[in-house]
């Protein structure tokens, strides 16, 4: 009896994992697709952002749908029991939204070409229609760590964009990216980081800062 009971619990757990894998796999596909479109920013002049951002937003819409599916399924189980399975993919999804918004998308009020908007954790929660930083109940949500790790990925992409925007002749964009990355860097300094994954990733911001400083220096010559 003990055996049967343990066995059926383990099997139940395995089937939950399998179901999660499928949803996460679907999310992964939408994220990869959206990242692919986003990567065109490096060869797209700002004047052509409008139609391209529309495509990115379509990709994000699909991500949002799948995150909804994930949230309602995962909320049936202890959140942190399975969180490690989707956290990487969710961070990537968050990154796509953050980058899209920074470049002028995901907003009624900004015009394409207006860049520099940083979504807050709450904004990201609203876009994906899920709670954030939950503490009072055990359900699906976006954690602070996930938001911050997503943000760090965006920094890498923007540093690269600073280089390419100079090549495209858009020096102003490079300068704006530089000041944004430096602000973020100052922000991250405020955190008390422990020896965890966040700390390791934050180090990469330093390289980004150095890179954009070099670009701005080159432009000043």
């Amino acid at each position: 009896a003990l055996f049967e009971q343990l066995k059926s619990k383990i099997e139940e757990d395995a089937s939950v994992r399998k179901e999660l894998d499928q949803i996460i796999d679907e999310l992964n596909q939408h994220v990869s697709f959206t990242q692919g479109i986003l990567s065109r920013v490096h060869s797209t002049p700002r004047s052509k952002y409008a139609p391209w951002l529309a495509q990115v937003e379509d990709g994000i819409k699909k991500e949002v749908e799948t995150v909804g599916k994930l949230a309602s399924f995962a909320s049936q189980y202890p959140y942190y029991k399975y969180n490690h399975k989707w956290t990487r993919t969710l961070q990537d999804a968050i990154s796509t939204a953050l980058l899209c918004a920074w470049l002028g998308g995901l907003s009624e009020s900004t015009k394409p070409g207006d860049v520099g908007r940083l979504l807050t954790l709450e904004d990201v929660g609203a876009i994906f229609s899920v709670p954030v930083n939950l503490k009072d109940r055990d359900a699906f949500h976006i954690t602070i760590e996930e938001y911050l790790l997503g943000l760090i990925s965006v920094v890498d992409d923007l540093a690269r964009l600073a280089v390419n925007s100079v090549t495209l002749g858009d020096n102003a964009l490079a300068v704006q990216i530089s000041s944004f990355i430096k602000d973020l860097h100052a922000g991250f300094q405020v955190l008390n980081l422990k020896n965890d994954i966040l700390r390791k990733r934050v180090d990469s911001i330093k390289y980004a800062v150095k890179k954009v400083e070099d670009v701005v220096y080159d432009l000043s010559l």
């Binding site: 942190y80 602000d183 405020v190 955190l191 422990k194």
Partner: protein
């Protein structure tokens, strides 16, 4: 940066809680190991542990109970699984409790029964802390505010065991059984087990119990999370079973 300041506070709260948990966990682990150490001085399976050993075990359990009482409010709801990697102490506690149970009854305690035992322990700890807080007129209030808070809600929060705590604790139990079988055979010349007198059934040795536990794990599907971890534990269990097999063989020859 105001945003970052707010996030910092949230993260700090999390890190502080984790540090408190890690500390409690370390203490519970150490006490559990001491219990196991005492239990390894037992020489035969019988319903009553020798008095001196039972006293040692009881004393350690009373300390563990207080630590569990302090731990309980930190790991409710969302936080039970959030900090599960800092809660290895629970496996160790399972190991100690199931080993004590085995030495008394030659049986494996059930998951539910063990959960009840641990909840009970937590409640005893809460009661003990409450009493001693009164006695000491809050002298240790400085580092105990959480404990004081935790006594207010009704019913008080208790520590729950996950199925993985139970299973991984049992894996480790097989190692203790192997050690017990080895020392008792060496010191008494007899393979541990039930007295043939107990009931009229055939006498049952620890070797059979090890075989049953071994087959139990062999037949279970791979449990929770890391397959690698599971396989490693299973392999250790296999070796323990085979060491006891060898004991049985050498005893017969």
């Amino acid at each position: 940066t105001p945003m970052f300041e707010r996030l910092r506070d949230e993260l700090d709260e999390h890190h502080d809680r984790r540090e408190r948990i890690v500390k409690l966990s370390r203490d519970i682990t150490a006490l559990s190991k001491k219990i196991i150490f005492s239990l390894q001085r037992v020489r035969k399976i019988e319903p009553q542990l020798p008095k001196n050993i039972q006293d040692e075990v009881d004393a350690r359990l009373a300390e563990i109970a207080k630590l569990l009482a302090a731990l309980a409010p930190e790991i409710q709801g969302l936080n039970r699984y959030r900090y599960s990697r800092s809660l290895m102490c629970l496996e160790e506690l399972v190991e100690a409790l199931t080993f004590a149970h085995y030495l008394k009854t030659q049986t494996l305690i059930r998951y539910e029964d063990l959960c009840a035992t641990v909840e009970d322990l937590t409640r005893q700890g809460i009661a003990a802390v409450a009493t001693s807080s009164e006695d000491q007129v809050m002298t240790d209030a400085a580092d105990g505010p959480k404990q004081a808070d935790a006594t207010k809600p009704d019913p008080p929060a208790t520590v729950s065991l996950t199925q993985d705590d139970y299973l991984y604790g049992i894996f480790d139990l097989t190692g203790e059984m192997m050690r017990f079988a080895t020392t008792t055979l060496a010191l008494t010349g007899v393979l541990a087990g039930s007295e043939s007198s107990t009931s009229g059934d055939e006498p049952r040795t620890i070797l059979q119990d090890m075989h049953d536990l071994g087959s139990f794990f062999e037949m279970l599907p791979v449990g929770g999370g890391s397959r690698f971890q599971w396989e490693k534990k299973l392999e250790v269990t296999r070796q323990s079973v085979q060491k006891v097999e060898r004991l049985g063989y050498d005893w017969i020859i």
